[in-house]
Amino acid sequence: MIGQTLGRVFSSGNRKGTASALDLSKLAPTRDERLFLVLSIFIGVISGLLVVSFRVAIEWIKILTLGSVPHPGQYRLLFVPALAGVLVAALVQWFFPAARGSGVNQTKAALYIYNGYISFKTVIGKFITSSIAIGAGHSLGPEDPSLQIGAGVASIIARKLGLSRQRLRLFAPIGAAAGLAAAFNAPISAILFVIEEVIGQWSAAVLGSIVLSAISSVVVARHFWGSQPMFRIPAITWRDNRELVAYAALGVIGGLFAFVFSRSLGYLRPRLRALPRWTQFCQPGVAGLLVGVIGFFGFPQVMGSGYEVMDQAMHGQFAWKFLLALAVLKLLATTLSFSSGTPGGMFAPTLFIGAMLGAGVGSFEKLFFPHLTGTVGSYALVGMGVLFAGFLRAPLTSVFMVLEVSGNYSIILPVILANTIAYLLSRALQPIPIFEVFTHQDGMDLPSMEEQREEKPLHIEDALEPLLVPVVKGSDAISSVSEAAAEGRASAFLVQLHDGSWYAMTVEELTGAAAALTAETPVERAVKGDRVPTLFPDMPLDNALPYFPRWPLLPVLNRASRGKLEGVITLSGVLERYHSD
């Protein structure tokens, strides 16, 4: 209904706008920029409200279907996830095909393939199918769907306001950050994740709007849920330097679990997708049944998003053997639920497994080395970051997430140590990140953010040539400059003008000037109004390319001494450098 209203209101305006065929850039040249910021706030608020409703819907469905507190041995644990799986599969197959999966890759696809287009139907479908699946006990989380819902809201609003295609593409990450921020109740982590995993770069054009929308959505979420994150963070302590050994061990365990988790999903998902289409109607049902079996026979904690269980683990309510059992079973349940195509996210299960591993290691240490260990909650929290870094491969987000939700800087050393170990180990064992694996399985080729981060771009210094061309002053007479050019046998030379700027002149240009002016005329009177760009050796080589059609060569300056030349670059030299790489 909201989408239809939006559509009616905005599309009428668009029709008129396009019908007039007048140039918007002439009528209102700053319209897009101004709307961009205002709409970021609206996107944040609406995404926040939708995410709050989404989470409440999940909780209501959980209470109504599984009961207020699911216990082992309840038969409903067996049939509720199975029936929900069948229902969700039917909805996805018949009505909302784009709602399948987690939401992160779909948002990236919208950004890179569909010009930021996410349909209203997808948003509604994601909301309905994910809330039913997670509420009924499938082992999935609400964050990735929230991210997609936010991106969808942004896409709808931007489309309906008739913003340019370029702007439209920028709106998806703004909404994604808003949705994720509201789901996590942690704006910095959401912003970083979107930059790290969705857009892959720090773009000044979009950063301000991402921050605005994320903050707006978090304000809304906190109005309802309070300022605490989704789980209560216990007191964080770091008691002894020797504890770092335990945190390092946690990093290793987390890295191995991340590898096993990635491999399980990478193995099962394509095989289930390759089965005949009719099986897609029952795969989520079967996965639900198997998850229900795990719950029925003693571990209902693995069902659903599991936030309350993470909370309990953080507060030391479980013994270490039980915690490790929960980690293993959650990995299994999530692999089943996600591979079957049930809509829902990977964030919460990842955090769940990490929290269980961390709390397990912490409880073990507390039991056997009581004087060495800090709180179990510290380990659980670091464990969450460890799996986030190892499995989702977002190392920066993982560190800031732990710091943001704990509000405690003192734990930074263990977090960095454990996360780095898990990240490196996971990368060594499984070179392709999980989101990229899914992308390839889905037959797409989206940019890999991890590869982008690790690309080594060429710099100007890589194509720098020694200064062999003549260098003259602007005050030099044309005759003397001609002599210098002839002596140097160069097709072009550099002129340093009185204001310190540079001009690259061709011999043809000089010959033309000599014909028109007297021989004593200073050469600077022969130069045109433009100047060569200021380039330094550390700048990306790409920056120089646009200038070559105009200039025969480009001077490269020294940063410490502005007037001093480091050398020159030429088009042939730059191309040769690219070819040799």
Partner: protein, 396 residues
């Protein structure tokens, strides 16, 4: 620079179109605002109903858990309290109840982990230290238990901290008594007595524990204070009588026991409680009849000593005939031989030295025959009791 950039003037049609564009954008933003308000109202309503339902569930599961815990079903209590915590996360008292349920279900590792975790968030919390002390006591770790009890005493308490600390101290004393660590228990109880409020129940509880900690003298002091109250309780009277009797202070024990027996509540007690008291009263009366009270008239005192001497002589003769010959018995025999065989009231009345020697021999006889021929009965037993602390019998 853009500020000074010259733009070609808009035509009339363009100006009109620009006005329409501004109007359209304003309408669009207004519509967006209206949609946000409607969505906000819907979210409020959904969230409100959910929050209310959560509160109801939290209360219901908490009540179930507390009921189960009280009725001795800790496993059910654990599930219920965990459920309550899911819907009311962060409620400290609920968390403590859950940890207590874990401990009650003998899931000691989980309980200890949980309590330690709670302690991390609230260092110095008296209640959590108390629970950890109980857990350590249950696991047989006396050192850790006492350490946690001490920290509970030094810790912070919600509500009436004074009263809670006293109750922890009494619990610690009880634990020390159970570990037969009487000196430390007595020390804790003396501290408790010094700080205890003037409430009969509390003071009587301390006195009872003092008795168990083998400190009847301090217990008697408390009981005596309590017996001076108007409408003194039968428990205080019995306690005073019992401890005074144990200490041999029969002069105090007899009236206290007599008052206890005459109290209406005394007869409402079980027979096995009343019987020892009645026996003590009877013994006290008889001890006072046997005791050579120096305040008695000279003749009466001599008569009483003569009676005691006859009882002790008979006990000696009986024991001497049955027991193997030993140095102690031979020594006693020689002492009895020095006492005139036909000892009379007149002889004793005229010779205070003889009285003293005779009574001394009576006490020695009862003490040594008790060791050589087994525990005495009847008047011999009572004389033995006097012999253990003759000066205490009438001590005020």
């Amino acid at each position: 620079m853009a500020v000074f950039e010259l733009r070609p003037p808009l035509t009339a049609e363009e100006r009109a179109e620009k006005r329409r564009l501004i109007l359209r954008d304003s309408m669009a933003l207004l519509s967006l605002f209206a949609i946000t308000v409607i969505l906000g109202a819907l979210t409020y309503s959904l969230f409100g109903s959910f929050t209310r339902h959560r509160d109801v569930l939290a209360r219901r599961w908490r009540a179930n858990g507390e009921r189960a815990l009280k009725s001795g079903h800790p496993k059910e209590a654990i599930e219920a309290l965990r459920s309550a915590l899911e819907y009311a996360p962060g409620q400290r008292d609920l968390e403590v109840e859950l940890a207590m349920a874990l401990a009650a279900a003998n899931r000691n590792l989980e309980a200890a982990a949980y309590f330690n975790s709670l302690l991390d968030t609230q260092p110095g919390n008296g209640l959590i230290h108390l629970q950890l002390a109980r857990l350590a006591a249950k696991q047989g770790n006396a050192t850790l238990a006492v350490e946690h009890y001490q920290r509970a005493l030094d810790g912070t308490w919600e509500g009436d901290g004074y009263q809670r600390r006293l109750s922890v101290r009494l619990e610690l004393a009880g634990y020390l008594i159970s570990r037969k660590n009487f000196p430390q228990a007595q020390s804790e109880l003396r501290t408790a007595a010094g700080n205890a409020p003037n409430v009969p129940e509390t003071r009587l509880q301390i006195a009872r524990l003092m008795e168990q900690a083998q400190d009847p003298a301090d217990a008697l002091d408390i009981y005596r204070v309590e017996t001076r109250r108007k409408n003194a309780s039968v428990e205080a009277l019995e306690g005073a009588g019992r401890t005074a009797y144990e200490l041999g202070r029969i002069g105090i024990a007899r009236p206290a026991l007599a008052r206890a027996v005459n109290a209406r509540e005394f007869h409402m007690q079980a027979n096995d409680v009343r019987q020892p008291i009645l026996q003590m009263l009877e013994n006290s009366v008889r001890i006072l009849q046997l005791y050579p009270d120096p305040n008695l008239p000279v003749r009466a005192l001599a008569g009483r000593i003569l009676n005691d001497a006859n009882i002790a002589r008979a006990r000696f003769s009986s024991c001497f005939a049955n027991a193997n010959a030993s140095g102690e018995m031979e020594n006693l025999r020689s002492q009895w031989q020095q006492i005139p065989a036909k000892l009379s009231v007149n002889a004793l009345e005229q010779d205070p030295q003889l009285e003293q020697t005779t009574m001394s021999l009576v006490y020695d006889t009862e003490t040594q025959t008790a060791q050589l021929c087994g525990a005495p009965t009847g008047d011999d037993a009572l004389l033995l009791k006097i012999a253990q602390a003759p000066t205490m019998v009438l001590q005020p």
